[in-house]
């Protein structure tokens, strides 16, 4: 994972994806920055939660064995179920963001780059 994270840092921080063409590219730059910010943030959320959970499973399994009051299940069940739901909601959030913000911006940027 570490290697990917390095790649990630390079990709987000290096200006490579938003190097100006000939003139100042307002929309294009805005688009790449916004998309990179959103996709890397969401990826980081997924990875941190998932590997955080993996850490707990491997080294602190007792935390997941706590019983939920009178229910027959342990707290581990709603946690995993919650992760399935959360990760899916994050994908839905990305779509919403892309449809409402990135796509209109992308049209402007395409016109700008084509110019």
């Amino acid at each position: 994972m570490e290697t990917i994270m390095n790649g990630d840092a390079t990709a987000t921080e290096s200006p490579s994806c938003s190097t100006p063409l000939i003139e100042v590219q307002g929309y294009y730059q805005k688009l790449t920055a916004a998309r990179a910010r959103m996709s890397w943030t969401l990826s980081a959320i997924v990875l941190i939660i998932y590997y955080g959970f993996t850490y707990v499973v491997a080294f602190r399994p007792g935390w997941l064995s706590v019983r939920l009051g009178s229910y027959p299940v342990t707290i581990g069940f709603p946690i995993v179920g919650g992760m399935f739901l959360l990760f899916w909601l994050l994908t839905a959030w990305y779509i919403y963001y892309a449809n409402t913000y990135l796509d209109p911006l992308s049209k402007l940027a395409a016109a700008e780059v084509a110019r």
């Binding site: 390095n6 890397w40 997924v46 499973v57 399994p61 064995s65 069940f77 995993v80 739901l85 994908t91």
Partner: protein
Amino acid sequence: MRLEKKCLAPLLALAAPVTSWSMGNIAGGGKSPLNPVAISMFLLFVVISLIITRWASRRTKSTEDFYTAGGGISGVQNGLAIAGDYMSAATLLGLSSLIFTTGYDGIIYSLGFFVGWPLILFLMAERLRNLGRFTFADIVAYRLDETRARALSAFGSLCVISLYLIAQMVGAGQLIEMLFGLDYKFAVILVGLMMMLYVMFGGMMATTWVQIIKAALLLAAGTWLAFLVLRHFNFNVSAVISDAVAVHKAGPRILSPGSLLADPISALSLSLGLMCGTAGLPHILMRFFTVKDAKQARNSVVFATGFIGYFFMIIALFGFAAVSIVGTSSEFYRDGKVGGALIGGNNMVAMHLSSALGGSWFLGFFSAVAFATILAVVSGLALAGASSIAHDIYARLLKKGAAPEQQEIRVLRVATVVLCLFAVCLGLAFKGQNVTFLVGLAFGVAASSNFPVLFLSMYWKPLTSRGALIGGLFGLISAVALVILSPSVWVQVLGYPKAIFPYDQPALFSMPLAFLVTMCVSILDKSAQAVAERSRFDEQCRRAELGESLPTNATQ
């Protein structure tokens, strides 16, 4: 009932990584008597799929049609098809049996299968669509040297596809023998023939629709079984769990993480391999080229993620319900000994559950869906492999893009026939062998060779052809070497007493190595070509961000 030892081992291969755990639980397989309901249901599916293939063949004329169904698949359809590719018969059988055996650990596993999808959406889906045309090698070769980059990607693709295809064929033969009572040889040849027909005549259009129908059938059958389970427990989910705890031999321990503790490195390596391997499987990547634009590509992942997540939820329900339903009734155990060996082996948990709750009619339907699932997955693989041969190797590498379209289609058809023959022959040759390691290897190569090169080509400007080639080969060779030295090959196949490399999953070691080598070689590459390749990165970025709305640039 004829019992065959070791019959189940290859079936487990379908369940991919789930296997390493369930391996110890295999206890004999078996061949069922001919099941008329299952066979007639299955024949119905065959007839419908052939009608679709005929319909698709009329619409499949150009190379575009063959490789990508003309890009006319919608987001929802593609989402179902992706989910179909991912929800194999084995996922259903392997995961439900794992949860049946280990409880909570099995659920943790299913999360590992799931978590790669959101990442594919955030980081890859749109870029794949915007940069690629027919195969993922198109993307790697976008700014790199065509010969080296494409040769590496085509080689990586074909490795992954061959390994995966053999494992699927062997598993298919065993599963069909068990569910339908058909002969192994007959089953393998039938599967090979069907996939050849789909791909050769219907191309991507037929393959996609077979996949969509199968996914819909699987979801419908699963939902119905989930309903039967809930009705059995008077719609009280707590009762499913408390009954399971009451009768399982591990008792309340099935509600907490258990055996994962024993080996966190393996678990980590597995989850990494699944996550990045999925993003390097050629038949999955190819699905992104079948939609109109980046918007549909990302929509398809959201639908796919939703379907896959839902599927895993109901599988967890099956696993726990089976503990008290299947696990306590002697009719599902060999010689009627409860707690002994399950009839047909441990992977039959979901099948026994469907028979216990839905009777033989529903079991037949469920079996037919499982067969449809296998057919759909192998056709996707065959198409991806044939595309790699026809597009990457023939049209781009040998003919340098100057091959006439009809000629390329002819090569695609010949490649399909060859691949199907290859799959059938090896499927027959590996009969009764433990091919679990082939799946681990396929994912290992995908994660350690295809994925690093693809990912860096999209995101890392300093990447050069030399770096990609050397790093990609390093990843491929190290993944293969580590799997050979691992317990599943060194001990179980080659018979040595102790494995040299202690883990079955290579990804945690081979993937970072591939990244490291690729990056080091690229940085050290000061050739004029390297400079030119880097200078094309900005143009590639614009294409990746803006896609088709951008006028075609002279650089490509």
